[in-house]
């Protein structure tokens, strides 16, 4: 083996040694797998909320139906914010891989602003609905709507807090392998929230009848 070049010898080892004899996987792969399991269980929570919404979406109790309440251009802006923040979050991860501090902070700031705009837009919609008397207590349909969209918004808010904590860790600890793994988990979390949002805007907003 070529000891002077660990990356090349690592690749060689990966190809030649059979899977059963390779020993434990690298920490990054184990951490990624564990976090992936958490994300899948989180998606199962959303699945129960989607099931409740699908069952209750017609039960308006004489109140307004979805098609009368939702503004599609508003939702398109929300969707653009979240999709763009998913992209800049990926750029932030790539910058941290290159140990580029300035680019990491820049893309994290853009991600934070886009995520915060998403939350602000969502809160605007919630306040508009509640003020018009169409709050979560109006009908089973609106209870299901506020639970589903509100849980997603809560996840995004917690993600924004996590992003601030990660930037504090980059500032104080630097790009330790531990910090880079946490940033990687944050990026997985953020992308998974975007996947849930695809389901929300398709079923709740575009599927409204």
């Amino acid at each position: 083996m070529n000891a002077a070049n660990p990356t090349a010898s690592g690749d060689l080892a990966r190809e030649e040694i059979p899977l059963s004899k390779r020993g434990p996987a690298s920490t990054r792969i184990v951490v990624g797998f564990g976090f992936w399991l958490f994300l899948l269980s989180d998606i199962v929570i959303f699945a129960t909320l989607f099931a409740a919404y699908a069952v209750l979406s017609g039960q308006t109790a004489g109140g307004p139906a979805g098609i009368e309440l939702f503004d599609r251009s508003h939702v398109l802006i929300e969707t653009s914010c979240l999709l763009a923040s998913s992209f800049t979050c990926g750029l932030c991860l790539l910058a941290s891989e290159r140990r580029n501090r300035a680019a990491t902070y820049l893309w994290a700031a853009v991600t934070f602003l886009l995520g915060a705009s998403f939350i602000a837009l969502e809160l605007t919609e919630f306040v508009r609905l509640t003020n018009a008397g169409d709050g979560p207590t109006r009908s089973a349909f609106l209870s299901a709507f506020f639970s589903l969209v509100g849980t997603h918004g809560l996840h995004v808010t917690l993600g924004l807090g996590w992003l601030l904590v990660m930037m504090a860790q980059v500032a104080t600890l630097g790009f330790l392998p531990m910090v880079k793994r946490r940033l990687y988990c944050f990026a997985l979390f953020w992308h998974a929230l975007d996947i849930v949002w695809i389901g929300v805007f398709t079923i709740v907003y575009l599927g409204a009848r």
């Binding site: 690298s26 992936w36 069952v55 998913s86 880079k180 805007f201």
Partner: protein, 124 residues
């Protein structure tokens, strides 16, 4: 042995390929934007046979979820990803069971429920 393992750990920790590359993210963003705009266009158009719209929306949403998984979450069929793919398959199974199971059961209960006048007649 321990030295080699730590070398492997470092090698894969600094492995940029494992986190995707700029080109991958740009391609993923392009596909996701196209699919999102297509969804919003389909929902508002009258150019398509009306009952076909929900089916088309579902297809576009599933395609976009696939794009996100492959280009942003970097789920692939590589040897390091076997466990992730198996967990994903189980996750999809549970999600399908919960969502479609609930919908079928509730629709069935709804269809078999007696209407209010019939219930009152039974109680008499």
């Amino acid at each position: 042995m321990a030295e080699r393992r730590s070398a492997r750990n470092e090698a894969s920790d600094s492995d940029a390929d494992a986190h995707g590359s700029l080109g991958r993210y740009v391609l993923g963003l392009g596909l996701a934007v196209a699919l999102t705009l297509a969804s919003f266009w389909v929902a508002g158009t009258h150019a398509i046979w009306m009952p076909g719209i929900p089916v088309l929306l579902a297809v576009l949403a599933i395609a976009q979820m696939g794009v996100h998984l492959v280009f942003f979450l970097n789920i692939s069929s590589g040897p390091d990803q076997t466990n992730n793919v198996l967990a994903l398959a189980f996750g999809i199974f549970v999600v399908g069971l919960v969502v479609f199971g609930s919908m079928i059961i509730m629709a069935n209960l709804n269809a078999n429920m007696l209407s209010m006048p019939q219930l009152l007649q039974l109680q008499r």
